[in-house]
């Protein structure tokens, strides 16, 4: 068997069809287009401000090597200089004057030579600008944004799970007058996404004195109709005989809810919890409206305000974008199966 036919062999000995080639082209270009930008973000986030403004950009975060030289407080950049007689020397730049640079030998910094800019080339080495990650936390309020986002996500998810599961329990396990009406009302609100009620909701939030508070971000989002429906569909599959048996044993209805139905509905609750965490972590429009105080910004709103500045500090924006992605990436890495089956079976997002 030749190498070519070995590499292209297929299960069952079927031959290649032209659609196989097209499919592979689609997959590989998809890989580049979907992953490429994120990898580029990751690589760029480790570059210093100077390296970020370079054109054309380098793939990896290279940095000009800096050398400590006697007689200078700051470290000086090191260059490879081609002298007039064609010899190459390593020199530090003391000062730049127009198209010329004052260069010196690192060993003898007092003797300087003037060198035209094009006769030198910076000595570069791989260097990760980790300060991009630490400085925003130390100086730029990012710890605060992070904390706010965590608060909103955790509190909203807990409340969502509790109130949605209680409502789903009532709507799935009891026959009562008006049940159809309640279901219809919840269904109707599926049609009215937050984006079309922002104006009156804003005045409601103001009326309740929740403007510019994290609770104002949390509360309007917690009674999700999708959550109620997801849990109700699941709870309908729990056999009523279990509940009857518990009632025989004199269990109260509340006990039936949290000792029997809730544990049995755990798979659906887990799916809702994962989705709720992602929804609330990624929310943008509503926090943007409710929060006016910088101290209260969530990470998404904070990122937006940084990128909207006149002089964007990309080195921080990129690093913090990576940080804000991390929780979602971790969730995805461990719980991909839940998420994909959740979407495929219910069509929620």
């Amino acid at each position: 068997m030749s190498i070519g036919s070995f590499l292209t062999r297929r299960r069952g000995g079927a031959s290649w069809h032209f659609t196989d080639v097209l499919a592979w082209i689609w997959l590989v270009s998809g890989l580049i287009l979907m992953f490429g930008p994120v990898i580029w973000l990751g690589l760029s986030s480790f570059k210093t401000r100077a390296a970020l403004s370079e054109f054309p950009p380098t793939l990896l975060p290279y940095e000009t090597r800096m050398v400590e030289v006697e007689g200078h407080d700051e470290p000086l950049p090191l260059y490879r200089v081609t002298t007039e007689d064609g010899e190459e020397r390593l020199m530090v730049q003391v000062r730049r004057i127009g198209t010329m640079a004052q260069m010196a030998d690192p060993e003898h910094p007092e003797e300087t030579v003037r060198v035209p800019l094009q006769a030198r080339e910076p000595v570069r080495e791989l260097q990760l600008a980790t300060e991009n990650y630490t400085e925003p936390f130390e100086r730029l309020n990012f710890l605060r944004f992070f904390y706010n986002s965590v608060f909103v996500t955790v509190v909203a998810t807990i409340i969502t799970l509790i109130v949605n599961s209680m409502a789903a329990f009532a709507l799935s396990k009891y026959e009562f007058k008006g049940r159809a009406a309640v279901l219809a009302v919840i269904l109707a609100t599926l049609m009215v996404p937050l984006s079309v009620i922002i104006i009156p909701l804003f005045s409601v939030i103001n009326g309740l004195n929740l403007f510019n508070s994290l609770w104002g971000v949390v509360l309007p989002t917690v009674a999700t109709p999708t959550g109620v429906f997801l849990l109700r569909q699941y709870m309908l599959t729990i056999p009523d005989e279990l509940l009857e048996a518990a009632r025989m044993d004199n269990a109260s209805e509340w006990k039936i809810y949290w000792r029997i139905v809730l544990p049995l509905a755990m798979p659906a609750i887990a799916v809702l919890a994962i989705f709720s965490v992602m929804w609330r972590w990624n929310d943008f429009l509503w926090p943007l409206i409710v929060l006016s105080d910088r101290e209260l910004y969530t990470i998404q709103v904070g990122l937006n305000s940084f990128q909207g500045e006149l002089n964007v500090q990309w080195q921080y924006v990129l690093a913090m974008t990576v940080v804000s992605m991390l929780p979602v990436v971790v969730i995805f890495a461990f719980l991909q199966r839940f998420i994909t089956t959740g979407i495929a079976s219910t069509g929620i997002k």
Partner: protein, 343 residues
């Protein structure tokens, strides 16, 4: 199961037990008033108490604002609360819909609304067609027999989980004047382009970005639809030596059609509400080239110096009408699909 893994499971369940202890205690505490309600009012009282928190939040933050939205759209003035607003009848709607020719936004009194509506309509049509097409092709490719299918699915799916701000920033960085795309183009001798300053390119990237971010979601639904197609149909076709194009046209697409309808409608509903990614990427610019309806509502009602809540409410009522129609169609389509699948 080995001894080791079962003891591990025991340890983890014990840890879970300790962590859940406060929850168990709290639930037991709630049981006291709940049992009292049950004794006093019977099971119906408990049901009402169970529904109450969700419905209360729902009523205050969803239903009441919906109702309020209609009232606001008939009022004018700058006051925030309804009681101090002036009733103006249908004036806000008249302002929005006042145009000499409907095809030219410049001839309208509220030209930004019409620009936003026009942009949204264009975006919806182009984005949904391309998005569904790309998702369909991706789903068909992923449905083939292949190694590491999970990996490839994840490749197309993961942007769905990224926040719109992150998506926008990733691409804004690439589309910068001295960004990656211009650098790559410079390699083949193309002059740098200011991608987000040119009107047409800005719209192109708005559409591209939203497809990039959401295609995994629709691919997943279509993939589930494809995998529900019985395999014996394909086997029968293979035995008959049916060409692949015919299999696609006669088996795959007709049987996928119900899922496809749901996907198209979901995509439409989402596309009408386009806002966050594009807002972070372009801010609606250049000019009003990528201004969409939600941004118009947000800016008119909340982000301007002089808030025009009435006008913004009227605009959101008009948008809500479109969404209600689309959602009703979607819900009946979902029901139709479920009926067909059951058969």
């Amino acid at each position: 199961m080995t001894v080791e893994s079962s003891s591990e499971a025991a340890v983890s369940s014990r840890i879970a037990g300790i962590l859940l202890a406060p929850l168990r205690w709290a639930m037991g505490l709630i049981d006291l008033p709940m049992s009292w309600v049950q004794r006093r009012l019977g099971t119906g009282g408990v049901v009402a108490a169970m529904l109450a928190p969700n419905m209360l939040i729902f009523g205050v933050f969803v239903l009441f604002p919906m109702f309020l939205n209609v009232l606001y759209s008939f009022t004018g003035g700058g006051a925030l609360f309804l009681e101090s607003r002036v009733f103006v009848g249908t004036e806000q709607y008249e302002t929005l819909l006042d145009c000499r020719t409907y095809l030219d936004p410049a001839s309208c009194r509220e030209d930004r609304f019409w620009r936003a509506a026009g942009n949204t309509a264009f975006f919806v049509i182009v984005q949904v067609v391309l998005l569904v097409l790309v998702s369909l092709i991706t789903a068909l490719v992923l449905n083939r027999e292949m190694r590491a299918r999970g990996f490839w699915r994840a490749v197309f799916f993961f942007p769905v989980l990224l926040s719109p701000v992150v998506v926008a920033l990733i691409w804004k960085w690439i589309l910068q004047r001295n960004g990656l795309l211009n650098a790559a183009l410079a390699q083949v001798g193309v002059e740098p382009v200011l991608w987000l300053v040119d009107r047409n390119w800005a719209m192109f990237w708005a559409i591209f970005l939203s497809i990039w971010a959401h295609l995994g979601f629709y691919t997943l639904i279509l993939l589930a639809g494809l995998q529900a197609i019985p395999a014996d149909l394909y086997e029968a076709a293979e035995m008959d030596g049916t060409p692949r194009s015919r299999v696609l046209a006669r088996i795959t697409l007709p049987l996928l059609w119900p899922s496809l309808v749901v996907v198209i409608l979901l995509a439409l509903i989402r596309a009408v509400q386009v806002f966050d990614e594009v807002f972070v990427l372009t801010g609606g610019g250049p000019g009003s080239a990528t201004l969409f309806l939600v941004q118009y509502i947000y800016e008119t009602g909340l982000a301007q110096q002089v808030r025009n809540l009435g006008l913004a409410s009227a605009a959101s009522i008009l948008m809500a009408l479109v969404l209600v129609v689309l959602t009703l169609i979607q819900l009946s389509a979902t029901a139709w699909r479920e009926r067909r699948e059951k058969r």
